[in-house]
């Protein structure tokens, strides 16, 4: 079902049915987006639930000046960024390095199924600041257009391109240090 059909369904008064189609179409995609940002499955699951509760509550206020999918990604990304900020704050108070924490978590995570190179890439991504990480994940893994990322993040296309370029170089540099 197209996003426009879902919106039309919602406008016709069938809110629950429209929401069901949103969940059916986007829950898995948003899960993987969140999971690549926070790495841990349980955290990703919590954030995904929060995201859809917010979507359900904010659906009456949804205006068609943005696309449905960019609106959903924006809520999911904002929830993930808020979580990452809190995690960083917690790590600071406990005098731990949050990047190292995340890297070692991925290394020992039984739900990580990648090879050595993929592990190194994930470790490199873990070193990026949260917003840069979001841009990199959306562009590199999901291949979302800059215009859409701009809508999701609320940043100009020019600034986004610069941010991605910066993140890309950092990742390349990290992999070089790892011997690749």
């Amino acid at each position: 079902m197209e996003d426009s059909d879902i919106i039309a369904l919602y406008k016709s008064g069938q809110a629950e049915r429209a929401f069901t189609f949103i969940v059916r179409k986007y829950s898995e995609r948003l899960y993987w987006h969140i999971r690549q940002l926070v790495a841990d499955h349980d955290d990703a699951d919590d954030i995904l639930q929060e995201t859809f509760i917010k979507v359900w509550n904010a659906l009456p206020a949804f205006r068609e000046d943005s696309k449905l999918y960019t609106w959903l990604y924006r809520i999911a990304t904002n929830e993930s960024l808020t979580f990452l900020k809190r995690r960083k704050l917690r790590a600071t108070f406990t005098l731990r390095d949050p990047d190292m924490d995340m890297a070692s978590f991925i290394e020992s995570d039984p739900l990580f199924d990648g090879d050595e190179l993929q592990l190194s890439l994930q470790k490199a991504i873990a070193t990026l600041p949260p917003k840069q990480k979001s841009v990199f994940v959306m562009r590199y893994f999901h291949e979302i257009k800059y215009e859409d990322i701009s809508e999701i993040m609320g940043i100009s296309v020019g600034a986004l391109k610069a941010s991605y370029h910066h993140a890309f170089n950092k990742v390349q540099e990290y992999l070089k240090k790892e011997g690749y």
């Binding site: 008064g13 069938q14 629950e16 049915r17 929401f19 069901t20 189609f21 969940v23 059916r24 829950s27 898995e28 899960y31 993987w32 999971r35 690549q36 790495a39 499955h41 699951d45 995904l48 639930q49 859809f52 509760i53 359900w56 739900l111 990580f112 199924d113 990648g114 090879d115 190179l117 993929q118 592990l119 890439l121 994930q122 590199y140 893994f141 890309f168 990742v171 390349q172 992999l175 070089k176 790892e178 011997g179 690749y180």
Partner: protein, 162 residues
């Protein structure tokens, strides 16, 4: 890609394998994801996705009244079961120790009359005991006493009464 035979700098854009998702979800998680999210929003899956027509007014009213009706039915069943048990054991209307209550005895003897009993008794024949305005025929009393007691016994009774 191995580290050993890398001479030039590795470019992550050249490797499609690197773009594949290295994470796994727990078994069955993605299959139940939709249902769990919908239940969070209080939506029953299937009903919302399959039904095109919104519920009619009477159906909506029934939906609202359903819990109250279920509660009333439950009370009805409990009352019915309790009544049935009392009927079967024969304890209905009796005191816990199995005897008629003092109140019931008083009513039975006519010492206490309820409005309901009075109303019932209007159509019933009164026993002599309950008649208050009964007239005695003096001659009949005298002749009955004469057949039952001797004149000496009657004199004695009269004396004792005095």
């Amino acid at each position: 890609m191995s580290k050993s035979y890398m001479n030039e700098q590795y470019d992550i854009t050249d490797d499609p394998h690197l773009k594949s998702n290295p994470f796994k979800a727990p078994e069955g998680y993605l299959e139940s994801l939709e249902e769990r999210i919908l239940s969070l929003a209080g939506i029953v899956q299937g009903e919302a996705a399959e039904e095109v027509v919104t519920p009619s007014g009477s159906r909506r009213r029934f939906g609202i009244l359903k819990p109250a009706l279920l509660l009333a039915c439950t009370f009805g069943v409990i009352f019915g079961m309790g009544y049935g048990v009392l009927r079967l054991t024969g304890t209905l209307g009796k005191s816990p120790n199995g005897e008629d209550s003092h109140y019931a005895k008083m009513v039975e003897k006519g010492l206490i009359k309820t409005k309901f009993i009075n109303w019932i008794e209007e159509d019933l024949e009164y026993d002599d005991f309950y008649e208050e305005d009964q007239d005695f025929d003096e001659e009949e009393v005298v002749s009955w006493l004469a057949t039952q007691y001797s004149s000496m016994e009657l004199a004695q009774l009269y004396y004792d009464e005095k």
